[in-house]
């Protein structure tokens, strides 16, 4: 895969024991990797040239990862993936709210990290003008906060959904009232988890219906279109997320 040779990654982590083998692994995967042990080194490397993506540790001596991340996103418009030992939901949300593209908890599976890097780069290249990340979807009284992946029903009750269901719902919400056939849905829904790639779209749709339809056997929101696929039968608007 020749085009991958050009992908430049900046890896910022104070732990040499992790940084060095990870840089080596990513190089073997065909990335060009630069290393920085702290934020100051990272900033000086950024002067020489702009990487395609930054892998960033949060807990570092000196300037921490959150602060550096703000700089990277605001000043350089760089995609950032956090690598952190803090795995609690609140930590993830803080990281994502700052504007990072993804949040990976240590220890991680290296292949999964590579999949996430590719996924972030794919999204970055597709969305030259990104939709505001904090804009939330609203349809028929339901709300979906894409940052927190939080779906709430018209009464304000949170309806937990899996990441596959989240992506499926996003696909519908981005294309309201349009017929989406199975192939197109599969294309949009394909996530980073390898096991989801071959899940039938129908199965995901029926799971989603169980959670959001009044009666899942008589769906009103996500309708089946004969011979074609599915369609979201609702208008969608996007607005600033509620403060939580």
């Amino acid at each position: 895969m020749s085009e991958q040779a050009e992908i430049r990654i900046l890896l910022v982590d104070d732990e040499a024991s992790l940084r060095e083998p990870l840089a080596e692994y990513l190089s073997r995967q065909g990335f060009s990797v630069e290393q920085a042990a702290d934020a100051a080194k990272a900033r000086s490397l950024l002067l020489d040239g702009k990487p395609d993506l930054v892998l960033l540790d949060i807990m570092m001596p000196g300037e921490d990862g959150l602060s550096l991340c703000r700089h990277l996103i605001e000043a350089k418009q760089l995609p950032v993936i956090f690598l952190s030992a803090k795995g609690e939901a609140t930590d993830r949300i803080v990281g994502l709210e700052i504007g990072a593209d993804d949040y990976v908890v240590k220890p991680f599976e290296p292949r999964e990290l590579v999949a996430r890097i590719r996924s972030v780069l794919r999204r970055a290249s597709k969305q030259a003008v990104p939709v505001e990340a904090d804009a939330q979807y609203e349809f028929e009284g339901w709300k979906l906060d894409p940052l927190k992946r939080r779906l709430t029903d018209p009464e304000g009750t949170i309806i937990p959904i899996s990441s596959a269901e989240f992506r499926l719902l996003c696909a519908f919400l981005d294309h309201p009232r349009q017929v989406l056939d199975r192939d197109r849905l599969l294309d949009m829904v394909q996530g980073r988890e390898a096991h989801l790639f071959d899940r039938a779209v129908d199965n995901q749709v029926s799971r989603l219906r169980r959670k959001i339809e009044e009666d899942s056997r008589d769906p009103k929101l996500i309708q089946t279109v004969w011979g074609g696929g599915y369609r979201l039968a609702a208008d969608v608007k996007r607005c600033a997320a509620d403060e939580v």
Partner: protein, 468 residues
């Protein structure tokens, strides 16, 4: 009866004091009533004795109006001299008063031949009735003694030795005036109310800071935040109790804070080398060897997560949020389905409750993981019964010996005595699941599933959560 007794310090002390006071006040009221009665009785006897002994020569019927005698006349108009016994037919002597009068007269040196004491309605006594007529007609007499034609009177007749005349003395019996007794009762009640009321105020002053302290302890137990500590108030003992409590709160909060910092550091310091190790094993050529290493690292990571979670479970940083429970359960079941595990979602009901979804997911994963590990198949259901939402996770494994069920919820206990590493986990899964259920105000119970013939056909774990 026991249920009616007050449980609080204030109530119990007040009840005890009120009862004691009631007994004391009743006793004192009764004694005062008795003393009053005795005094009145003595007054009557003495009045009779005085009339009989002083033997006034004046009789209003004679109409004597000497200046010297005028005052006596008014006062002693009721002594009568009679040749016959003053007793009417059918009248019985008042033996008790007779004895008392005899004592008094004997003390005064009277030579008694015959003595009679009896009570008689005023209306039946001709002597007094005639006297009352005169009083009515002649303004110079007055009814100073308060004769009442409707009332009763006490009559005493004395015949001295060697005399043939009877001296007859009369005093009106005061009618029983209920007002006097009401006075005693009201006075008693008033004292009672003032004492008990004053005591209640005093006790409240003591118990109010105690009640505030109890509320504070409940808050602290729930939040473990030192903000909003009590100002010392109340009596000195309570004051000192509050000061000491505040110091203890601060100490506990500091210890918990240290624990969090320590656990955070352990988490960071162990997870980073684990991450490094996980990256390094990617260079292992042998696929099956690498998979085993990866599985080991995952086991360590899971145990570390369990330990860190267990340490944090009583102090969650995320808020309770109104969430649909069956969708949450479904999304956890779907994770397992997607991994090709044999998990089935049975009947569910939509139940919205306030919960912490990341924690509850973790409890469900632990329980479903256990069911799959020991039972190969898990069936999960959600239903609303009574005031609770019940999540049931059933497996078809060997169950647990009845006497070990309680132990299973303790840390580091696993189903097999061998503690076989192959089954994975540090044995914290159930402990953590129980702690998470308790964090939500609920419970976790384990029970064997029995077939119709009584054989164990699996285990059922139930998380019960209170509805809002």
């Amino acid at each position: 009866m026991r249920r009616l007794l007050p449980k609080s310090l204030l109530g119990q002390m007040l009840l005890a004091v009120a009862l004691a006071l009631l007994v004391a006040q009743t006793l004192s009221g009764f004694l005062r009533f008795r003393a009053e009665e005795t005094r009145r009785e003595n007054g009557l006897i003495n009045a009779l004795a005085f009339q009989l002994i002083s033997d006034p020569r004046v009789d209003y019927r004679t109409g004597e109006t000497d200046r010297d005698n005028r005052r006596q006349e008014r006062r002693r108009l009721r002594i009568e001299r009679a040749l016959q016994s003053p007793v009417h037919d059918g009248e019985a002597p008042d033996a008790e008063r007779l004895e008392r009068l005899r004592e008094v007269l004997t003390e005064q040196g009277a030579q008694i031949e015959q003595l009679i004491v009896l009570t008689r309605p005023v209306a039946e006594d001709d002597y007094i009735m005639r006297g009352l007529d005169r009083i009515r007609n002649e303004p110079r007499f007055n009814n100073r003694d308060g004769w009442d034609p409707q009332g009763d009177m006490l009559l005493a007749g004395l015949k001295r030795e060697g005399q043939d005349q009877w001296l007859v003395a009369r005093v009106p019996l005061p009618s029983v005036d209920p007002g006097r007794y009401v006075g005693i009762v009201v006075q008693t009640l008033l004292i009672y109310i003032i004492l008990v009321g004053g005591l209640a105020l005093l006790l409240r002053r003591i118990t109010r800071p105690l009640a505030a302290l109890r509320n504070r302890m409940e808050t602290f137990a729930a939040t473990r935040e030192t903000t909003g500590q009590l100002e010392p108030s109340g009596p000195d003992d309570t004051r000192r109790l509050i000061v000491v409590h505040n110091a203890m709160e601060a100490r506990i909060a500091a210890l918990l804070g240290e624990k969090d910092v320590m656990l955070g550091a352990i988490g960071h310091d162990l997870k980073t080398p684990l991450a490094a190790l996980r990256v390094r094993i990617e260079s292992v050529e042998d696929d099956s060897e690498r998979a085993k290493m990866a599985a080991t690292i995952e086991d360590i990571t899971n145990s570390l997560d369990d330990i860190l979670s267990l340490a944090r479970v009583g102090r969650p940083s995320d808020p309770l949020e109104r969430t649909e429970l069956s969708a949450l359960v479904a999304s956890v079941v779907e994770e397992y389905e997607d991994m090709g595990e044999n998990v089935e979602l049975a009947d569910t009901q939509r139940i919205a409750l306030r919960l912490r979804s990341t924690w509850l997911r973790r409890a469900l994963r632990n329980l479903i993981g256990n069911a799959l590990r020991y039972g190969e198949k898990a069936v999960v259901s959600v239903e609303k019964t009574g005031g609770e939402a019940v999540i049931r996770i059933e497996d078809n494994g060997p169950g647990i010996a009845q006497d070990q069920i309680a132990d299973m919820l303790e840390p580091f206990t696993r189903g097999e005595a061998s503690r076989n590493r192959e089954t994975g986990g540090a044995g914290l899964g159930l402990t953590l699941a129980r702690a998470i259920a308790e964090q939500h105000g609920g419970t976790l119970t384990l029970a064997n599933r029995l077939s119709a013939s009584g054989d164990v056909i699996g285990l059922v774990a139930q998380i019960r959560l209170p509805l809002d």
